[in-house]
């Protein structure tokens, strides 16, 4: 940690003691969230999320492909994340690094473990041909809490996704004109808490992420169940803080869910 971040950390810690933050929010307050769907016409589904100044665009594509050998009766979900070089002075072009891989896998786990997509309905021919759903997360501006913004945008893009209609003619798959809705069951929402000093706060923005000890993210499904968790950062949490964070996440997910009408 550089000298400047150490000074900033002290300032942030002092503010949290008074239940306040550098940008004037309370500890359990999200930044303003904006959601837009269907902005990319070429994609099967798309969404843009603004969380404060953090901006993420997610596009989905659907192709036909082979199922995994151990799940012959299920379609395939593939999540990828790109940290676009202009999104932060620290980002560089090149193959995905551990941060973008972790981000993609957290988003993937939320969608997969909540059983959001009814993958059995994506089977064209069991064991041979299924629909493959590609979810690609593009981070356009990084101002903290990429996890919540990306997870929200991914779920929004999937709920906006159209699946091609098809018929089988003499063993050949023919894609017909027209689309139908991608079969969905759930809409998971991911909430991240940052631990700074001994306090927890939601939706950390850039300056808070730079000084936080650790973060913990929970994906919460429509029934309030936890379906994925990821702790990150080089610090630790006490067990009581983990449980507190889980309760905060459950509450906040409910609030966000109301906002987006899922």
């Amino acid at each position: 940690m550089s000298v400047i971040t150490k000074v900033k950390r002290r300032q942030i810690e002092q503010l949290i003691e008074k239940n306040s933050r550098l940008d004037g929010r309370g500890p359990l307050e999200y930044r303003e969230m904006k959601l837009e769907q269907g902005l990319i016409e070429r994609a099967e589904g798309s969404a843009r999320v603004l969380l404060g100044k953090t901006e993420v665009v997610v596009g989905t594509k659907i192709e036909t492909g082979e199922p995994f050998p151990d799940t012959p009766n299920e379609g395939v979900l593939t999540v990828n994340a790109e940290l676009v070089p202009f999104a932060s002075p620290g980002y560089e072009p090149g193959p995905p690094d551990e941060n973008s891989i972790e981000l993609a896998r957290i988003v993937d786990r939320g969608i997969r473990e909540s059983k959001m997509i009814d993958t059995e309905k994506l089977v064209i021919e069991p064991g041979k041909k299924v629909f493959v759903v590609f979810v690609d997360v593009y981070v356009l501006n990084y101002d903290g809490n990429l996890i919540d913004a990306s997870a929200l945008a991914a779920v929004a893009a999937l709920s906006n996704t159209k699946m091609p209609k098809y018929e089988i003619e003499e063993g050949e798959i023919k894609i017909k004109s027209g689309y139908e809705q991608l079969p969905l069951r759930k809409h998971p929402i991911t909430v991240t808490c940052a631990k700074i000093g001994n306090k927890l706060l939601v939706d950390p923005w850039l300056e808070e992420e730079q000084v936080m000890d650790a973060r913990i993210s929970f994906a919460i499904d429509d029934d309030g169940n936890i379906c994925a968790i990821q702790k990150g950062g080089s610090g630790f949490l006490e067990p009581s803080q983990v449980f507190e964070a889980a309760k905060i996440a459950k509450e906040k997910a409910k609030e966000l869910r109301k906002k987006v009408n899922w």
């Binding site: 896998r105 936890i226 379906c227 990150g232 630790f236 949490l237 983990v242 889980a246 309760k247």
Partner: protein, 252 residues
Amino acid sequence: MNEKPEKLIDKKGLRLDGRKPDELRPIKMEVGVISNANGSAYIEWGKNKIVAAVYGPREVHPKHLALQDSTVLKCRYHMASFSVQERKSPAPSRREIELSKVIRESLEPAIFMEYYPRTMIDVFIEVLQADGGTRCASITAASLALADSGIPMRDLVVACAAGKIENTVVLDLFDTEDKVGSADVPVAMMPNLNAITLLQMDGILTYEEFEKAVNMAIEGCKTVYAVQKEALKAKYVTVKGEEESQEEEVEE
């Protein structure tokens, strides 16, 4: 492919491998198994067989990664191609890259990073055989290897998973339970500091089940912690024994 079992828990409440819900698999550890490394450890956790080794603190490579006020911890979790049923490509998968990151972040809180500025510590983990719960076994072995290398630490990091199979919260899932069961919650901690350094989960749990699983995993961690400490002591008891016998030879 193995057939999916119909039941994971039998009528007596026992699991497929005969364990009770809160029972760990047999665990063996040995410290100082790689003579070239500065520290190393081998762990057998059920059918998991994993070697971890530490190099450093040593010169940072590439140089621009060096930090002025702290060492840099690097971690590589890797599975051998023959460690799983179907051959795994030896190229690092996305899963391995993510695990390397979370394992590193689970070890960092234990190390006095500021003691070795402008240096790098390498932790290499090689999974020779996998049977579910490799990240927990890897963390347990890696922190032993770090301790063996003599790097000052706040506590050993120990890890254990809990999960849910057929509506029962159970400890330490093996491969089949992990794949067929409904949730897996790996936890890593420093028991003396009551500090959780890794927590992940996939599956579906209510809040109450989650709390139960984490508490069960913490209890599991404490049991493994005792084995871990014994393994560390055992190496130095042997070393001391060797020294004494050498001294006797000189006297004779």
